[in-house]
Symmetry: C2
Subunit: 569 residues, 2 copies
């Protein structure tokens, strides 16, 4: 049970501030994250790691020389928003590009992906490193779908060392790909964890049972078995990893025995005692093994075993010196605090000036977003009710919060002289930042793509607006990976874009074309109630949604209608 | 709940082996503990720390350059035996004497004290450092009775640094006294912990409550209060420490915010966020603060705050480099493994050769111990039953186990050519080693003191035997601190020694004198049932013992009768 907090929704942010205060000699606080107090060499590749809070030492404890350049901290078990990631990444950038490292979860994939698009648009070479080490979450033939767990430690450590050594971006990414491909983990759970402010656990394991392969947020495992003696448990952890030993590998391995929170050090040492013999029997030689807490999950009881199959290159980076608040190895030169950390998050508030024509269009766009925000505020409860039938019921709240922030950001951009493109892009950033969650990230990336198509110079023509809609669609599909029929907002977005494009191409006015597109989107949203969705990454709870309309498709159609009703002639 | 183990009674030892295996580059395993793989300079003062297991990183995680030279690990929450401590201390000794550092608990005081006596008898300058930082356990005017909790970290760190700096024993002990006197802690508990193999917790805290000042083994606290927000909890932890701020102190403080196991890092960081402001308000300047897990208690939920009031000297040692498995600070030269670690525990098996006369007497002593062991085996159940009325019911088992080991050791000493003194001393060591607990330590130190009086040269005269009894008594009182009337074995020991000495002095034969003394001891033991004992350190459960005879006094009288009945003419 998590007991020490004030307001539960402030828990992660307060913890971040406390972490930075306690480690003021090593890190510097930036909004929603931390960077090294003594930044790495100018021009080096920067490694930014992150994800939801609640997993300390992941990810803040990894920031330091020879390891990560920065970490971004989301709410407890929730991805940081793309805006947060973007801000911390700018602060971390040393001119050599940024690698965004995170565990492979849908929300993180969306938000880090969205941030990467923004950073690239700003000219920063940005790469994605999604760690996929959890063998319990998908088969070896479907590696890209595996979750990231304690493999974060060796993969990020190795990548951080390669970056510190001065390799260029392509070379560091080659090391990253090899390290992630060589890293496998298997975990067991004895009991679940409790979120701050909650009276009951997020998930549980029956007394006397062990959840095999249970995820660190309670994601489904493989099976449950009766609790067993430590020697048997050690074998249970090791066997699935031995099964993935690469052919002809010489047996040098980084090994991490990781406690998830409540399982104590002495218990891990008992396991390690048994593992040493088993590793030797298997012909493996542990190189600098680590036994302790590296990727936790609040007060979850359980542990995981990670192996990285080393070669000379990986071993060199694994053994290289590092000095972070929660991980030290070898001897590094003591860091000297450097005031030259870049402004980071503040940089994003600069507003590009639009032409007079585009400023007019920007005012129009801001007015439309205001209408959308008011309509979504009115519909908040209804959308929440629809979402609760199949999801976690927070869709209405997220849409209302996101659109309100978008409207305010749009007004601010108009006041600052922004053109239509900037108004829509900044509205999208604000939406993603405040809405949170998957739909927030998708709406953010969609509006930003649309805005970039409009630009800040010309008065938008109907064809430009339609191309913007297509760009928004493409960004959502690229980031979210959903297709029509998955019961997501894509189900209404695709027909909307299709009809809008057809009608505009046929020479109809934007108002007429938009109205037709909105009507088709509404039909498609209603039809999602009939769909039996495919099981997809974008909608893990899909089974429960059969027979109910999809809230994301419904809200998108609503927005389309509101905009259509308020479009100027 | 502690879940990962094989046989529960092997938990601590297996964890020790696992710890040593996982840190093979830094420590070397010795029986019941670990020493640095790269020992400190020859002639340096050695710091040996220890106590019960279950508190990792205390104490094994502290072994390294700039910190402890060695650690000894008892069973879970149980003091290591004097023999274990003695063995590890011999391995740790670099020729400059040994400081035995531990938290101030009755069992540790006895066993470390007993080990110190043996080490001193062997010519090793040995000092005692009992950490007394827990303000909740006794008032500031009764400092010596305070328990040791997370103050172990700063006190041992500072003492380790002073020893590493090359100070001589008196100078290091002066630093130790100052550091311990300047260190205060206050802790809170949210829930108890569970011993390996147990289905229910050792102690609990009611849901929604906070145990204020509750000890890390569940020792009584001050009060319980309703769970409170983090900001209030921070103030609650800090205020009792501020109340003990030394007059005219300039405000430089080492601060440790320590998690007890289940309370997670993020919760500690939330607390730290609030504490930073409060420390500043109070005019305090944290120097290298530490937030994390340093002295845990298995899966106990709770935390503690420790302050060391620094001056220039203490600050220098607090900030000095250190490199231990669980604590690193600054930069130390990477250790080089050194095979020259002394043999340690093996050394104790050398048997001093006795004269022919003394060898005869040694055979007699061994025979008597054999009789005692058989009698105690017969009485095991009865003694356990008596003990269960007032204590934890393990007295019979401990006496049977200890005396059996003593008899075997005595036979071995006889076979090795030992005289009476060596036979009795080694029997005492074996007794303490195998019996465990308080009475085991007392019997061990008593028999050793008696043996040293007998020596290995002369056939023991009745006067020598009586002087040995007096020496045994003195050792027990010195170590245990109990007086007549405390309902301990002292209640029957004192009249035994008194009568034996009187009768021998009056010229009676040893057999007659002994029989009279044994009879008086038996009367005194029976009379303990009538005593209303003073509350003393030696018998914390004293209140429950009113109306019941004391098992320790009973068993001592039994031993006296058995010896009396079997004494040769």
């Amino acid at each position: 049970m998590t007991r020490v907090f004030d307001a539960p929704d402030q828990f992660a942010d307060t913890a971040l501030q406390g972490f930075c205060a306690a480690n003021a000699d090593r890190v510097r606080a930036v909004p929603h994250g931390a960077v090294r107090a003594a930044p790495g060499a100018r021009g080096k590749v920067a490694l930014l790691v992150g994800g939801g809070s609640g997993h300390y030492p992941a990810f803040l404890g990894y920031v330091g020389t020879g390891f990560a350049d920065a970490a971004v901290a989301g709410d407890v078990f929730a991805s940081p928003s793309a805006a947060w990631i973007h801000g911390v990444a700018r602060a971390a950038n040393r001119g050599g590009g940024v690698i965004l490292g995170f565990g492979n979860y849908a929300g993180d994939v969306l938000n880090f992906g969205s941030a990467a698009e923004r950073l690239r648009a700003e000219g920063i070479d940005t790469r994605i490193l999604a760690v996929t080490d959890d063998v319990a979450s998908a088969g070896a033939d479907d590696r890209a779908r595996r979750r990231g767990v304690a493999g974060d430690l060796p993969v990020f450590k190795i990548v951080g060392a390669a970056a510190e050594a001065g390799l260029d971006m392509d070379a560091v990414m080659a090391v990253a790909g090899k390290a992630n491909g060589a890293t496998v983990s298997f975990g067991v759970a004895f009991d679940g964890c409790t979120l701050p402010g909650q009276g009951t656990p997020l998930f549980t394991v029956d007394p006397g049972r062990v959840g095999m392969g249970l995820g660190i947020h309670g994601e489904p495992g493989i099976s449950t078995r009766a609790m067993m003696p430590a020697a048997d448990l050690a074998r249970t952890l090791l066997e699935p990893l031995l099964a993935e030993r690469p052919a002809d590998h010489d047996g040098r391995v980084a090994v991490i025995l990781n406690g998830l929170g409540r399982t104590k050090y002495e218990e891990l040492f008992v396991l390690w005692h048994h593992l040493t013999g088993m590793l030797t029997e298997a012909g493996l030689t542990p190189v600098d093994p680590e036994v302790g807490e590296f990727v936790t999950s609040l007060d979850m009881a359980g542990c995981s075993l990670t192996i990285t199959w080393l070669d000379d290159e990986l071993q060199g980076y694994w053994r290289a010196p590092a000095d972070a608040p929660a991980f030290r190895k070898g001897t590094v030169t003591p860091p000297v605090a450097d005031d030259a950390v870049e402004a980071g998050a503040e940089a994003e508030s600069r507003i590009a000036q639009g032409s007079a024509d585009s400023q007019d269009a920007g005012r129009c766009v801001a007015g439309l977003i205001g209408h959308v925000a008011r309509a979504l505020a009115d519909a908040e409860e209804e959308l929440g009710r629809i979402d609760a039938q199949a999801g976690d019921g927070d869709h209405g709240q997220g849409m209302a919060r996101g659109s309100a922030a978008a409207a305010a950001a749009a007004d601010k951009a108009v006041a600052g002289g922004g053109g239509a493109g900037t108004v829509l892009s900044l509205a999208g950033d604000a939406w993603a930042d405040r809405a949170g969650g998957t739909s927030g990230a998708l709406w953010g990336v969609a509006l930003r793509a649309w805005g970039q198509t409009l630009g800040d110079r010309d008065r938008p023509l109907p064809e430009t607006v339609a191309r913007g809609a297509q760009a928004a669609h493409d960004a959502i599909v690229r980031l979210g990976g959903a297709r029509v029929g998955d019961k997501t907002l894509v189900d209404s977005l695709v027909p909307f874009v299709q009809v809008l494009t057809e009608r505009v191409t046929a020479g109809e006015t934007l108002g007429v074309a938009w109205a037709a597109a909105a009507a088709r989107a509404t039909e498609a949203a209603d039809a999602t109630a009939q769909l039996r969705p495919r099981l997809g990454r974008a909608r893990p709870l899909a089974d429960r949604s059969i027979g109910h309309p999809d809230a994301g498709a419904i809200s998108l159609a609503l927005c389309a209608r509101v905009v259509g009703a308020n479009l100027p002639e």
